[in-house]
Each structure stands twice: as C-alpha cells, then as structure tokens.
Symmetry: C2
C-alpha cells in the first residue's frame, strides 16, 4: 500500500492529565507516530472533548489505576455514545525522583497514596523516618519535588525528564506484576484482526438468574469472557449494569449471533466496541 | 436478655484514616455504642491490625469510594483469612469548609480529585476563578484549610467539627445519589438475621462457560446475586478471581447447598462471610 503523505492527518488526542501521568505515557506509547496531545483535567473531560469533536480520540484508564476512578470511566461509557477502538496494557514502574542526587538529603517524600502503598516495603527499608506527604497525583508529586531539593517524589522516568529531576532509584515498587489498562475511545470502530476483544454494557432486571441466562448465550457458543463487573444503576434499586469484555470481534459470526440473542435477555445492551487484544 | 455490664468489652476498631475520612465516619456510625478507634494509614494496615489481633475489627471501603483503592480491598480478602461481619452503606455529602466565614474571601480550594469532580458544576457556578489544589484525601484538604484563612476545603461536617472550620455551604455535590459501601472485618461470623448477604471469592479456570456453570448452581435455587466483579490473578494469565455478593446467609440451607455445589466448579471458593443487609 502506498501512503499519500499529504493525506496524513495528525490525530488530536485527549488524555487524563496532567502531563507525565501513566495515562499520558500510555497515550504516547500508543500514538507513537505522533499526535496533537491535550491533557484533560478529568476523565469526564476526555469523554466530552471526544464527543464534541474537539479531539479525535481519547485515552482513559479503566483498570487497576492510580489516576481517577475506574468506576467513573465505566459510568461514562453508559452516558456517552463513544466507541472503544483499542486497549493499552502497561506495566507500571515507580522510581524515586529528586532535585538532589543523594538519598541522604531527602527529608520528605511526595506521592499519590496508591503509589506510596505500592512502594511501602522499599520506603520502610530505605527512607525510614522520612516524612510522607500524599498528593492527588504522581505528576503533582514531581512538581513538589522540583520546588524543594530536600524533597523526593515517587514517579515515572518520563516525569524525571519533563520536570528535570534525577532518578535516585529505579523500580522501587514492592510488587513486580503491576499493570494498568487504558482504553482508546473515539467515534470509529476498529476492523477485525482475528485476535480481538469486544466490550459491552448490559442492563438486567435485578432478579435471580438474569445474568445466568444472559451468559448462556456465550457459553453455548464457547465464547470466552475476560472481564465482568457489576454496577448498580442506583444503589438499592432494581436495575443493574454489567460491563463485560468478551473474546472476539462483533463482526465475527458467532459473537454477533450471541450478542443479538443476549439482547433479548437484557433491558438494554450497548456495544462499546471491538478492538485488538493487547495481551 | 440481661446484659452484664462488667463483661462488656469496648472493641478496638481499625479504620482507614486519617481522622474524619468517610471510612472514619462510617466506623463511628456503625460502632455507635463506642469503640477504641485506631486510624490506619492504608487498607493493608487495617487488615494487618485485625489479623495480628492488635484490633478486634476493621472498617474498609469496598465500593464507590474516595479513599484508597477498592480493588486493593478485594485483593486483601484474597490474601488474608478475615471474615466480613457487616456492611455499611453511607450517603456521601460534600460541604465547603473554611476558617473564613465569607465565600468572597476564598482564593484557593483544596480537595481530593474525586471530591472535586463530584462538585464540578457547583464549583464552576460559585467559585469560578478560584485556584484548585488537589490533595491525597479530604482530611488533608481540611488540614490545609486550617492553615490558610483564604483557603477552603471540600469535606464533611465531621471534618469541620474536628478541625474547627466553618461550614460555608452544605451538600455542594452535583449528584444526589452518591453512596459508599464499607465492610466491617474481623475473625467472627455474624449470625443469621433472615435478611443477609454473603460475600464469596471464587477462582475459575479461564475457559468459556466456567462462570456460567458456577452461576447455574445459584440460578437453579433462585438465589439472587447483588454484585460481581472479576479480577485477573495475574494479568494475561489463565486464572481469574470473581468477587460475588449473594442474597442469603451461608447457614441458610439453599445457599449452603449452592455454595457446596459451586465449589465443585471452581479452582477454589473462599467464603468471606455472611452479614446483615444494610439496604
């Protein structure tokens, strides 16, 4: 295929900011050919920027994340009519960053509460006695470390580069298998690759067996479910939402049939998109 | 029943701190007859304090929360052998707190990113132009407001009382139905009340239909499931964990039978406890 460079359009991509968040890194990694990036303040803002056409695509965290609320992302898929066109799964590493070059100079450590929790053993063994200050994001922690040479931040290598900090120690996380999953959202659908996933959102009456009957349409066709999460539409009320990730593309015959049949068991079924598996 | 006051023991209760968090409020509300409370720094610490016997019971957030990670709580139920003895469901309200008594004096607003997100429309309409500073918890925001009379914090009425702040405006949240759910954990099991829930954690082989077959044991007995959430044991690997809340007590004949039968479909099934329904 010959590409016509004059037709190449640089995508405008919103992500959950500020700069150097894990979402930013995931977005940079995914749009490696370049994009016009825009840091949004909240996950809501990312959806809004894409919905209104201010951006072509958006990147939001959806699982096991330090930034924003995963459940907020799920709720926004209910509220907005945007499609998932890709997933990004990144290994998360934490590093000790500081203006200082010496560990002994550190008097206070800034980071997001979850990043602190993930590095607890390392902090206890290496920075014992150092004051710990929680801030709202790892990016903010890096900014605090810029202001104070006696401060350190837990953050990414990218944050060290952007904010001009030294990396005093790499990979200080206690747990090695620490992944975060992000979704790329937009108005277009990804084409089948033969190795895809499909995300759906269904609403069921809150009665015994409703989920069981909905899943039967998948089990009979040997369709694998890789994730399920329930959310009450309103706490204590009768209707429930289920977010599911299924193996396959909705254009596959078997999954297409299953979804049509499942729809008959649901109050509603919303197709959030089919996209290539990241892992 | 005559109670012997000499035998009454004040429970030692760990909660996810610091003081005045929503978890703290939930704990105070639940242990209304008094307890010896201890603020833990992380959800991990709450589990550890109860497991080692330093505290008799613990209170941790599990759904839709501003404090810590819900998924961390789920993972800790996998790691620790503690029982859920109660659930607490609280409506969350946000309020504008300040040392100042006048809205016009406010130059900066501190809060947790999620609290800010939940009050966005109100902030936009009432505090337009005021600087917004994200901090790691609503309790920390209140402390910042104590230090600076030109600052305000989004926080609870309890935080206003504890930190000596004025409540400039109550219930500033944009969404009215904002609930958080907490679990009371310990080593004892709650007795059946006739209106109970049971939480379990099951592990299934990552194959099509395994969840469907596990749920069949519930559907056949008309047992209602009120929540389900999947977690990969390791991302991209073959084994999956499912956290489920079911209607009924595990001492009920029908649920007891269902759980025994379900066990045959699982790699393992862990009973996290039966407890009275909060809603």
């Amino acid at each position: 295929m010959i590409e016509d460079p004059s037709r190449k359009k640089i995508p405008r991509v919103a992500y959950l900011g500020p700069e150097t968040t894990f979402t930013h890194q995931a977005a940079m990694h995914f749009f490696e050919d370049g994009a016009n990036f825009r840091a949004a303040e909240t996950i809501d803002d990312v959806f809004h920027l894409v919905e209104t056409g201010s951006c072509d695509q958006g990147v939001v965290p959806i699982e096991n994340t330090y930034e924003g609320s995963v459940s907020r992302t799920l709720d926004l898929f209910y509220e907005y009519d945007l499609k998932i066109s890709a997933e990004i799964i990144n290994r998360i590493h934490h590093n000790l960053l500081s203006k200082s070059k010496r560990l002994e100079n550190i008097k206070v450590l800034y980071s997001h509460p979850m990043a602190i929790a993930q590095c607890r053993l390392w902090i206890k063994s290496t920075l014992n006695g150092v004051g710990i200050a929680e801030v709202g994001s790892t990016a903010r922690a890096a900014k605090k470390a810029v202001e104070d040479p006696e401060a350190a931040a837990i953050g990414s290598i990218m944050a060290a580069e952007v904010y001009g900090l030294n990396v005093l120690q790499e990979n200080i996380e206690d747990v090695a298998d620490n992944f975060t999953r992000f979704m790329v959202i937009g108005k277009d659908q990804a084409v089948p690759t033969g190795r895809d996933k499909t995300s759906i959102l269904i609403s069921l009456m809150h009665q015994p067996g409703t989920l069981y009957r909905a899943l039967e349409t998948l089990a009979r066709r040997n369709i694998n479910m890789t994730r399920i999460e329930s959310r009450p539409l309103k706490m204590g009320q009768w209707e429930y939402l289920f977010f599911m990730d299924l193996d396959g593309h909705e254009q596959d015959r078997s999954l297409g049939e299953a979804l049509r049949e499942m729809q008959g068991h649901c109050v509603f079924l919303k197709r959030l998109g089919s996209y290539p598996r990241a892992m």
